[in-house]
Symmetry: C2
Subunit: 141 residues, 2 copies
Amino acid sequence: VQHKPLTEIVVEELMISSEKVAHVQLANPLEHALLVLVKSGYSAVPVLDTSYKLKGTIGKTVILNHILGIERFEMERLSKITVNDVMQKDVPCLKKSDSFLVALKAVIDYPFVCVADEEGYFDGILTRRAILKQLNKDLHA
Amino acid sequence: VQHKPLTEIVVEELMISSEKVAHVQLANPLEHALLVLVKSGYSAVPVLDTSYKLKGTIGKTVILNHILGIERFEMERLSKITVNDVMQKDVPCLKKSDSFLVALKAVIDYPFVCVADEEGYFDGILTRRAILKQLNKDLHA
Ligand SMILES: Nc1ncnc2c1ncn2[C@@H]1O[C@@H]2COP(=O)(O)O[C@H]3[C@@H](O)[C@H](n4cnc5c(N)ncnc54)O[C@@H]3COP(=O)(O)O[C@H]2[C@H]1O
Ligand SMILES: Nc1ncnc2c1ncn2[C@@H]1O[C@@H]2COP(=O)(O)O[C@H]3[C@@H](O)[C@H](n4cnc5c(N)ncnc54)O[C@@H]3COP(=O)(O)O[C@H]2[C@H]1O
């Protein structure tokens, strides 16, 4: 998205679309979620249900916190707990048609914000990096 | 930092100063580093030496990758490996006197960038959140 004024840019043009986003399912055991997060290198990823609706996000910290016992990390518990048991459910959400300014406000407190449609079907994620890159282009234009 | 034009803002005004930044030492075992990262909730933190010089950064992903065996996470290896063995050494660095635009470019690809003086003594970190908050203020002024 080159020298367009920020006021004309919408979320759809800056987001990573759903087929390129690593995600996990509600019913997955935590062991699977931790493997996806370590292999992809991402701090957190979206959680979807079987019909591809957005349900929340899950990250490495909440998984590791859940298995941290008094003396050690109790890894054997990873197969007994599901994503649904520990994920963050109350997460901000954008629409594809939202403006750049609405998107900028949303990523101030979150490394990424999920994008979904009116019925809750997952469209993709908007990252801080995408916002920062566009701002940098705009300030140098 | 209120309605100052972006061109007049320097890194020192936006950074989190060193006494408020969670960090680990070069010689710490990975077990200690993972505990600091899980208890603080941060994805990655700076690594300092005993004289408070900046040496690099370390995050949860590189620690977990290092102990991921064929079938499971081999947690017993955490006490045998040190931070120095796995940390990222080649990380970008800012000076307190750097401009807002130099700082914006630096955080496009990193969630935070360390701030250090000419001799390498650690001053603090500049986060994406601090840059985004200032940009949001500037666009609404
Ligand atoms: N494989 C890779 N290649 C190049 N750079 C990489 C990278 N993994 C991480 N980074 C860099 O590190 C930043 C923080 O990544 P983190 O995983 O903590 O936090 C990420 C991650 O939790 C999530 N994310 C980004 N891309 C994703 C994807 N394709 N699928 C799922 N989640 C993604 O959005 C957050 C913010 O992403 P953002 O791009 O703003 O910021 C990224 C990016 O600048
Ligand atoms: N305890 C908390 N309270 C409120 N919000 C929290 C929080 N922990 C994390 N966040 C939010 O999540 C973002 C990503 O945190 P993360 O730990 O992945 O990535 C963090 C972390 O790796 C590092 N960081 C931030 N503050 C730190 C500190 N005081 N000490 C050490 N590292 C810090 O800088 C990265 C970017 O920080 P940034 O503030 O831009 O972005 C933070 C902030 O918006």
